[in-house]
């Protein structure tokens, strides 16, 4: 892609102020929206899925105007979008880039995979200690069983 076209493309989807979350796996786009509660935000959002990317076969991108995220909040998406990158935009310029980091503790968000865990029987907020970040392994604070990345289901 020529520089000219690149600029054109950016212009089309650019936002003046806000956050661009890039490199989300397409299949997890709506989970990311729901974890960040973007379905409840009054701010303007645009998103695209199944886009070309060097790193992912098909990636998704979210652009949220006039909204910025605390690290603790943004790290919640690390479980399902570990390679997500954030661009913080002010006056059409990228003023900061952030990567997500898998947190050491995960509260809520994920269901414990153990069907016999109390958290699947009563309305309890789940709580996990992250025992491995790559691949992700979560130890339930209640039943002490480990939910692996492939067993992870978003609540």
């Amino acid at each position: 892609m020529s520089e000219h076209k690149k600029k054109l493309k950016l212009k089309v989807s650019a936002i003046s102020e806000g956050t661009v979350i890039d490199h989300i796996p397409s299949e997890n786009l709506f989970d990311v929206i729901s974890i960040l509660e973007l379905d409840k935000t009054p701010n303007m959002i645009t998103f695209g899925a199944n886009l070309d990317s060097d790193k992912l076969v098909n990636k998704a991108i979210i652009k949220v105007s006039n909204q910025f995220f605390e690290n603790d909040d943004i790290n919640k998406i690390a479980l399902i979008a570990p390679h997500a990158k954030l661009n913080i935009i002010k006056d059409y310029e990228v003023i900061e880039k952030k990567v997500v980091e898998v947190p050491s503790q995960v509260i809520g968000i994920v269901k414990c995979f153990n069907p016999k865990c109390i958290t699947n029987a009563e309305p309890i907020t789940t709580s996990f200690k992250v025992t491995s970040k790559e691949p992700i392994a979560l130890k339930c604070m209640y039943c002490e069983k480990i939910t692996s990345e492939s067993q992870m289901v978003i609540k």
Partner: protein, 303 residues
């Protein structure tokens, strides 16, 4: 957490484990110490358990406490659909201490969160049963006079057996243990525990049978190999007699060697072993009463 709950064996520090041992020895000398006079203990058994419940209730009675509760969920408000949350919330207002067994894993940790009084986990599904581990430890200490330099054989179902997992964690705190795991292919010690031992630099060995090596053991901890654990029934038929301890196998064992079993036993220890002085499982069950008295006294700061 200021409350002294006992949910998982490693909730207690090594010092607390040792303190429970001291207290248990004290209760063994004098089981009828009326430290619970005027106190009410809730004994909530959401699933039946003969041994654990009777052991706890004996301990409470010997300490002069009163018991309220139920021995199976059928006679509780669970049948009306009450949540564990609400049951615990209510009972913790009535009683000074809650002893609870529940079929769901993690239920005890959750109950401790909800309860305003200490909770002692008497078994939460396949997860934890810390009072069993403490009585196992007390039995080991009583028969060996030390926790150090012991060669511990664990035999049978090492994959699903929560008692062996907790005992492994507890004994790993002491000097120079050696573990020998004897189990069929389908019921091997889970990888996470082996990783734990490797990280701590603790020696362990795995075997498919133990007749030839039993002479090295200080403690033989037997567990039941259950047919329903096998995906292939033929596999069970092949191994079912390998994990049975018989009196003839004890001939060349160490004089200090003792056989432990969390009970109930089915056939994994032949009855001809019972009369051998190395059979310790019935005394082990009695130790459960003293250990539980110690745990209760510790939870309520009575000693």
């Amino acid at each position: 957490m200021n409350k002294k709950d006992l949910i998982s064996i490693m909730d207690y520090s090594k010092e607390e484990h040792l303190r429970i041992m001291d207290l248990a020895a004290d209760f063994e000398k004098n089981p009828n110490q009326k430290l619970l006079e005027g106190k009410v203990v809730a004994s909530l058994f959401f699933e039946p358990s003969t041994r654990t419940r009777l052991s706890f209730e004996t301990a409470i009675n010997r300490m002069g406490g009163r018991i309220v509760g139920f021995s199976d969920a059928g006679s509780s408000s669970v049948t009306k659909g009450e949540t564990l949350h609400d049951t615990i919330r209510m009972v913790s207002q009535y009683a000074d201490l809650i002893v609870m067994r529940h079929p769901l894993e993690g239920s005890a940790r959750y109950a401790a969160e909800v309860s305003s009084v200490p909770v002692i986990n008497a078994g939460d599904g396949a997860n934890q049963h810390p009072t069993q581990t403490l009585l196992d430890m007390y039995s080991i200490l009583k028969t060996q006079n030390t926790f150090d330099d012991l060669n511990i054989f664990m035999v049978g179902d090492l994959r699903y057996g929560r008692t062996v997992h907790s005992l492994l964690m507890a004994m790993s705190q002491f000097e120079n243990p050696i573990f020998n795991f004897i189990a069929p292919e389908e019921l091997l010690m889970p990888e996470e525990y082996k990783i734990y031992l490797r990280e701590k630099g603790i020696r362990f060995f795995e075997h498919l049978e133990f007749t030839d090596i039993i002479s090295e053991a200080d403690i033989v901890y037997m567990t039941r190999v259950q047919k329903e654990r096998f995906s292939d029934p033929m596999e069970y038929e092949e191994v079912k007699n390998v994990y049975i301890l018989r009196n003839s196998m004890l001939e060349n064992t160490k004089p200090n060697m003792r056989i432990l079993h969390p009970l109930p036993r089915v056939n994994e220890i032949a009855t001809d072993v019972d009369k051998n002085e190395k059979a310790y499982y019935f005394q082990q069950a009695l130790n459960g009463v003293f250990t539980r008295e110690a745990i209760i006294a510790h939870a309520l700061n009575l000693k």
